[in-house]
Symmetry: C3
């Protein structure tokens, strides 16, 4: 099947719900005028339109959608068309209650909210097939339709009898016989041995909640079943003749699904980005958001789409802060800098009622073009048009952070050294941020991906070793790579069984040590890292650590720093081991940000890894995208104040005001020639 | 039907439950002796007596109640007689489970607690009719019975199938056809369109919880159904020949019902007042409680009753603090000052067991008269007798605060600019307190009431415009009134649909502006109001604001103050517009108390509105009641220390010690001649 | 039935689960080698082994257990054999759902977790009888089996229909007729009168939750039913010929059961001790844990067993901190010092999976003997062998703290002066700690025990008077005892009905006062105690108090201190009354620790009560055990630093390094001759 290329402009637009305004043709006409004024070239239609498309079972109403799409197309606006499975009509739930989800405590939901179908239900799959097929038949050949958006923000889980049956079948397929499963889940503990697969029930607050192997496999099943449902949706479209690419939209740091598994089956990955700008330091928010952008890009190792974002404030966060002047464009360019080929908003026109009626929109309740937000949307549209040459370019990353969902599930379900917080996300973010602040583009990958193209691998808290990661890391270091592993790594296997005989499992020789004990620190309790002698590596002579302190037994590794307090004062806190042509560092405790900054600065210098830019001032984020030997460097100021910065002499400014400084909430984009990526 | 007048003493007494002591006639005799000593003239009987009155279905026991009432009457003590529907007997729930409430998650309660009947159940209505009729037949002609108390503290809601049916019927009556309802609730959002009324289910944590139109109408229905139940109770009494007035008792700032709707159908409104004296500043507590008193009085624009209060500590608050010496009397006079014609306690004799066994009482477990509390009850009884001439007098208020339950329901259900707190009650209280501290009596009204008699209307956070309030406010300003409106006003219509075309809806010309954006401020985040030039209006040159900041677009209004910080520094923060003969102020953000104090001081001075008293020191609360041209002024010290104050020369002291100062926790009441109320 | 004596070594070992490793005979062999190296002499087997012992209904597998026990015995290791009822097999729950518990909201649990059987279910009782009988038949005569461990940590409650029936029957037996019950529970309040026992339902969040008499009796029933279940388990063993003693294991400050009732029916009491060492001051933790040790010993007034403890960190606390060097042995000796005849760990070998896979163990996942923990376990084993002569010795206590579960249940269920915290445990701990710091061994008893052997009785917050405690206390003081009673005592009778006529009920003459009011203090609010004149009794002239302040009316007692603030400034805060040959103190408010320290120092000095040791420095805990006229004194340092201390000249050091100081986390044990215990 051939997938048509997207055209050569960045996609600019957002979710549009004209079905809410069918009794107001004047408003729909006015919308088109305003969209064109705003330089919007694409809208997403059909998300949540099922009740209007099929108001009664088997009765279809597509005329309005044809009319809208035609009218948009006549005005040069393209369409991303969504399947409507994200929220089903009431008649469907009323007639077929099996489509309603069952909660973990075995209570079936009433009709309501959204994203709440049982993904196992044959009836729901059939009804989705019918409406998807109709949509495909109606619009597969429409020239405005550039992409198919599969459902919306798949999420959550169902514990109904149909799902229990599917789970048992999935487990039987995985383990073949019940003895294997009993061993894998270590069910002899507390006498929980299963006599047959038929006894298995999903985890529940009124049943099994501490059988970690079960919890882990349940989460895997939820991802598998959701993926299967999504593939079912896509299959229907393809069988009906749809040729355009498919896209699915993800959410920020969502732990309910392993997105990698879904990403395999769509043409594009996209996500809905709603950072809490202006709540805390915007610089921190930018790094946190940037890590998500990079995660999305890394999944398919190609440009992703920003499917939703907020023109100003969303309405469902605790506090809805309006975006300050400049933030809208800076956030848009931030996505592009990290590899997005689109900037899209939720929503085009603000709804008059319902849950999100106060979510900001391109066209608000007032409805005029003389608003601050509308003006900033328009300016951003103009800018994106001038940047068209960047579309489709790649991001070349010398370093990667391993951030793995299955390991996270296992780690956060287990009862371990710190049940009130392991800070896994924060630990990954520290490594990510330290690499980024030292000027590198960074991929955010899971254990299944290849490590070959990287110079540095950060492996924070790799609790579970799976997908042969031991061998991949061993090979990576053997061949000259720099590995930075931390405490609480290599503890369990793929079914959350603890490794016996010493950890990090299978890498004790590569790291030159084994972990013996791990001390949980109370809230507010700290220890410190001190340098051993004049090692000269570090700028500060004392770094704070907290949360978890690993006490290791050295077997070849060289200690670089030691603990300063507690009975383990003098025990190693940072070690390095030569293995093959590479180096394996081990960080024993959850050290503060400055430690990671200095560690990676030294590593990068020692290893001669070229950064995107040198000497990056605090408050500035640097990213780059590359086509062939042209590198586009994005220099973004995420503070309110101007920041002085020296751009390289060869920089050819493509966008932005630069006079030795970059203004608050502003960006400069420049072009430079580059060698082909190293290693 | 003629309603007999109350006699010319303040009602003084409380809830009395002799049915708990029927095996101790010695105690019941002792109670009478003590009541007389305490100058108590009234008790409330029958609240929660159903099990004793009808121990088995159809078996009635009224002898004990006859005996008690006779005995009280012989001793000059009158009776308020309650219908017993607040807590049903077990046999009723056992035989007819439909009378048990169903929780929002569709779980039916077991028998237990109180206030938990299904108000829709035909069986419960029938059984209540039987017992009410019996009560009426037994006591309608008893000379001791002065008033009928309908049930007790109606509250909460039921989601049983009978209530679902009634809700659907109520909605059908309201909207006539399902398309109207779909439009009103904007159900196309998230594809929630109803195909028929039969699909409607009340809001639920396991169903619809974010469909705001549904949530709002459900709350209206709960009030309507509760009112209907109450009317059923009254109808039975009246049909059985009851001639005495009826009363219903309300609770502090209760948001589960719109009390205005119930108030229409009874002769007297009353409430149960349990302030947390001594937990924080008692001055603040006094203003907060005063606002509730004024709300109760404003509902029927006539004296209300204080139905319950605590002699010392209640037992169900987080911390039970005893009342300090003087507080009991000061709190009693506070109710009278704001328009109460009664002072009543819960409870007369402390129960030996059950949920409230540690609630303070006139006669405690010890049982003697030599306790601090008994002495203070007695002193208060004596004082109330000396104040009999004030009974029945009115409160004349030059200002009103609009405090509207339907608007509050809508605002607090919506997902908007601050989901962790809008501070509506606090905003209303600030306006109320500022007006009161500047010496005015204040009414607390809803949008349905007439504005004609007021000089100033405070309209804080009038999120929903309903009941023609736009036109009433327009007319009010047109004819010379002073309107003070704030941020987050005029946003939605009566079904919570956002107004399009600019807000505050329908008043943008009156106010001379429209609201464009609203910024939510994080916890601890602030901005400030600065005066524009030398406007001379304000004492301070800088006021703090927080929570919400409205960014307005002026169209005729004159800015008086501007914001000091953030990107909207310099934007208007306080504006005024001349409209007709009046003025319309607009306060853009949630400013601190001092701002409101200064704003209203200036307005009152400019408009020459005479206060009840000038120059009120901090810690003193001033209120007045008027009969014809006699005004009774209450001067109350709610601090522990004496406060110096200058009483007017014409003041004729009726009660209290005054020597240039008023003692801690003490009151002075004086009489003066006055003109008939202005405007 | 004769119960064999334990042999003359301290029991040293822990829970061992070889059934998890049946496919790894190499590991099981290695375990024996390691156990012997660690000087372990006992293991507990069979806890949670049911699924392995009876993999299908009626199919039994005991060979593996025979083999293990034989092998242990051959290596000199004895066995405590557990009945497996703490966690049932899945097949049992699948075939007989009645064995699954029902939650208080009437939701039946699915299979899962542990400790979740219905203790009323005839089926569960029958199935437990079958497996217990089989166990007994197999092992009653095995010489390795020294003791039978009945189930594991009985806990929680079941609300199923079978339990409801049993509860009604239990109540009928208690009250005989429903009128008695109605009076006892004061059901007339809120019209909750029962017409028959059949209407009774256990307390529920969806039913009765505020009927305190019901709540109290439900808790009593849960204890009675659990005890009955335990007795059923024991009966089966005895009927099958088991001769060895029985033991049951309890938990830290567990409020779900009144352990005294269970203790009556077993030969030994034991408990599972998991203090949060190193989270806060270890000295405080040691006193808190010591109070539990003393409670366990006091129940049967003889040595108890430490059944479980953690070699290093447990895994299920919020934060898992490793034990610092020395802590393991210090905690072990601490148990012994307070009367334990065993030191046992959970667990011998760390499980690879399941809920507690990260709980520390004697043999961890690494599996070697070259770990810090294994070495400390071994050292402790060696030391215990040298202390064998102490085994079986008694603790002689001159003082007792009354700490009563039934009173606690009632107090904490009631809605009273401080619903956000009464601090009962803390109040008891203050008295306990003050007596201990002044050098006394202390018993922790309930109201049912004899007071005869004590010189001092601390009676903090004795809310409920039951079991004739008034008369016992009166007699105790009459005969020369020193009673220290506090606020909130003697308020209710055994069914939580308030006493009328003055409190503390029945002791107002002994105390010389009655309580009139009680003031709840807000969080952070304080008052102070001031000495009256130069009473010379107290070191400080000002003690802080908080939470609750009792205002008393004196009738003979002499005030020693008064309140410093609030309107009750000058009211009595500490009083004393001469009664008979003794003294009755009354402490009016929740005073700070220093107050109690000084109070008891003075009492002990005045009364010439000999302490175990004089002049105890802060950080040191002193305890002693006695056989005949030999006293073994344990001097334990629970800080990190050495502490200087002067041991008595006659001290004959049995264990530990002493050079004028005792090292951090270390103990010294000495022997001295003593007179027979006084009084």
């Amino acid at each position: 099947m051939s997938v048509p290329k997207l055209c050569q402009q960045f996609i600019y637009g957002g979710d549009y719900n004209p079905e809410q305004w069918l009794d107001r043709p004047d408003i729909l006409e006015q919308d088109i005028v305003l969209l064109k004024k705003a330089h919007i070239n694409t809208v997403t239609l059909g998300v949540f339109s099922w009740s209007v498309l099929e108001p009664q079972e088997g009765v279809f109403r597509f005329e309005w959608l044809h009319k809208i799409i035609d009218r948009l197309y006549q005005n040069g606006i393209r369409v991303i068309l969504a399947t409507p499975s994200g929220s089903r009509p009431r008649w469907l739930a009323e007639k077929y209650p099996e489509v309603l989800r069952v909660r973990e405590d075995r209570v079936r939901y009433l009709y309501g909210e959204r994203h709440n179908h049982c993904y196992t239900s044959p009836v729901y799959r059939e009804k989705v097939a019918v409406i998807n097929r109709k949509l495909a038949e109606n619009f597969k050949d429409h020239p405005a339709v550039m992409m198919w958006h599969i459902s919306n923000e798949y999420r959550d889980e169902c514990h109904c009898p149909l799902c229990q049956q599917a789970f048992r079948k999935w487990l039987k397929n995985r383990y073949q016989n019940i003895d294997e499963l009993n061993h894998a889940w270590w069910t002899t503990f507390w006498s929980h041995t299963y006599q047959s697969f038929d006894q298995i029930e999903s985890p529940s607050s009124i049943g099994e909640k501490g059988l970690h192997g079960l919890t882990l496999d349940w989460k895997r099943f939820v991802t598998a079943q959701t993926t299967d449902f999504m593939c079912h949706e896509i299959r229907v479209l393809r069988e009906a003749g749809v040729q355009q690419p498919t896209v699915v939209n993800f959410m920020n740091d969502y732990t309910g699904l392993d997105y990698y598994k879904l990403a395999e089956h769509v043409d594009y990955v996209s996500w809905d980005s709603y950072p809490t700008w202006h709540h805390k330091s915007d610089v921190l928010t930018a790094f946190d958001t940037g890590m998500q952008h990079d995660l999305m890009r890394s999944m398919k190792q190609k440009p992703f789409l920003l499917m939703e974002s907020s023109p100003s404030s969303p309405n469902w966060q605790n506090i809805s802060k309006v975006k300050k002047p400049g933030m809208l464009m800076n956030a848009a360019l931030h996505a592009v800098a990290h590899g997005s080929d689109s900037v899209q908003f939720f929503q085009i026109r603000q709804s008059r009622g319902g849950f999100e009626k106060f979510h900001s929109a391109v066209i608000d309740h007032y409805g005029g073009e003389d608003t601050r937000i509308f003006k900033e949307v328009t300016e951003t549209g103009v800018v994106l048009e001038t940047l068209a040459e960047i579309k489709g370019s790649q991001v070349n990353a010398a370093a990667a952070v391993i951030y793995d969902m299955e390991s996270r599930w296992a780690m956060e379900s287990a009862k371990g050294p710190r049940n009130e917080g392991l800070f896994y996300h924060e630990a990954a973010l520290k490594s990510y941020q330290a690499l980024r602040k030292n000027g590198l583009n960074v991929d955010v990958i899971n254990m299944e991906q290849s490590l070959e193209k990287y110079r540095i691998i950060a492996a924070p808290m790799l609790y579970m070793f799976r997908a042969g990661i031991e061998e991949k890391l061993r090979g990576f270091v053997q061949q000259g790579g720099i590995l930075v592993m931390t405490y609480w790594s290599g503890i369990v296997n793929e079914t959350d069984l603890c490794h016996i005989g010493g950890t990090p499992h299978g890498l004790t020789d590569v790291l030159g040590l084994r972990s013996e004990e791990i001390d949980g620190l109370c809230k507010g309790e700290t220890n410190h890292f001190l340098p051993l002698g004049k090692n000269g590596l570090f700028m500060k002579d004392r770094y704070e650590c907290s949360h978890l302190c690993d006490l290791v037994h050295l077997d070849g590794a060289k200690p670089l720093m030691t603990y300063a307090e507690n009975f383990y004062k003098g025990y190693p806190a940072l070690t390095v081991n030569n293995y093959g042509s590479g180096l394996a560092y081990y960080v024993c405790a959850d050290a503060e940000m400055d430690f990671y900054l200095d560690l990676y600065r030294n590593i990068i210098a020692e290893q001669n890894i070229p950064p995107v830019m040198d000497s990056i001032p605090e408050g500035i984020e640097i990213s780059s995208r590359t086509i062939k030997n042209t590198e586009y460097v994005f220099v973004q100021n995420f503070t309110e104040e101007p920041i002085c910065i020296r751009l390289p002499n060869e920089a050819e400014i493509l966008f932005g005001c630069y006079d030795g400084a970059i203004q608050g909430y502003s960006s400069v984009i420049y072009r430079k020639k580059t060698q082909l990526p190293q290693k």
